[in-house]
C-alpha cells in the first residue's frame, strides 16, 4: 500500500465518521422532538454495538486448534478481574495486553 493510498483511506474514514457524527445534528436540530424510536435506539444500541465489537475482536480465535483460545481466555479473565478490582481503564487494558503478549510469546 502506497502512502497515497493510506492517505486516501484515512480521509475516507474521517469523512465517514464525520458524516455520521454530524448527521444527527442536522436531522434532529432541536426544533422537532427526536422520534421516540430513535430515542429508544439511542438508549439500547450502545450495549448491543459494544457486544458485537467484543465478539468481532475474538472472531479469529480457534477453539479447536491449539492453543484453543487459552491465551485470549486467560487474558480476558485478567482484564475483567483487574477492572472489577480497581476500575482503572488504563490499568485493565495494559494488564490484559501485557498478560497476552507474555502468554503468546513465552508460554504457548
Amino acid at each position: 500500500m502506497t502512502a497515497f493510498q493510506t492517505a486516501i483511506i484515512i480521509a475516507a474514514v474521517a469523512l465517514g465518521t464525520m458524516l455520521t457524527r454530524f448527521l444527527p445534528f442536522i436531522a434532529f436540530n432541536g426544533k422537532k422532538p427526536v422520534p421516540k424510536y430513535v430515542e429508544y435506539l439511542g438508549k439500547t444500541l450502545t450495549g448491543a454495538a459494544l457486544g458485537l465489537l467484543v465478539v468481532y475482536c475474538f472472531k479469529s480465535v480457534s477453539v479447536t486448534a491449539a492453543p484453543h483460545g487459552l491465551p485470549e481466555l486467560i487474558s480476558t479473565v485478567v482484564i475483567v478481574a483487574l477492572h472489577l478490582w480497581k476500575r482503572n481503564m488504563l490499568l485493565s487494558i495494559a494488564g490484559g495486553t501485557v498478560c497476552y503478549i507474555a502468554l503468546v510469546n513465552f508460554v504457548f
Binding site: 484515512i10 464525520m18 444527527p24 427526536v34 472472531k59 487494558i93 490484559g96
Partner: protein, 152 residues
Amino acid sequence: MLKALKAAFPKTIPIMTGFIFLGTAYGIYARSEGLAAAEPPDDVDSGKFYFWVTLLNQAYWVTGAAIGSLAGSFIGFEIKGLDFVMTALLVVIFLDNWLKEKNHASSLIGIGAAAVCLLIFGSSSFIIPSMAVIVLLLTVFRKKLEKAVDGK
C-alpha cells in the same frame, strides 16, 4: 490519482459500514444523553455548544488515527500479541457499560446475535448480518425493552 482512489475505496467499505453503524449509534447517544457530563454555560446556545463538543472529539479521533497509521509504517518490528490491546480496550468499555446499565438485555442481544452470525456467516462477513439482526431484535422487543431500560 483517481485510479488510486478507485483502488482504495472498496477496501474501506467494511470500515465505512462499521463506522456508519457505530457513528449513528454514537451520534444518537451523544444527542440524547451521552454528553450529560458537559453542560453548556447559560449564555451559550446548547445546540452550538454540543456541535463544538462533537467536532473537537472528532478532531482528536482523526488526529489519533492519522498518528497511529503513520507511526505504524515507521516501526519496523512487530510485537507478537500487541494487537490484543484493541480487544482489551473493547472488553473494558463493554464491562464498564455492563456495570452501568440497569438491564443487560441489549448487551446480551449484541453478544448473542454476533456470536450466532459469526457461526453462520464466518469471520469475514458476519458484521452486516449481525447489525441487521440486532436492529431487528431491538425493534421486535421494543415494548419489553423500553420498560426494562427505564427501570419501570
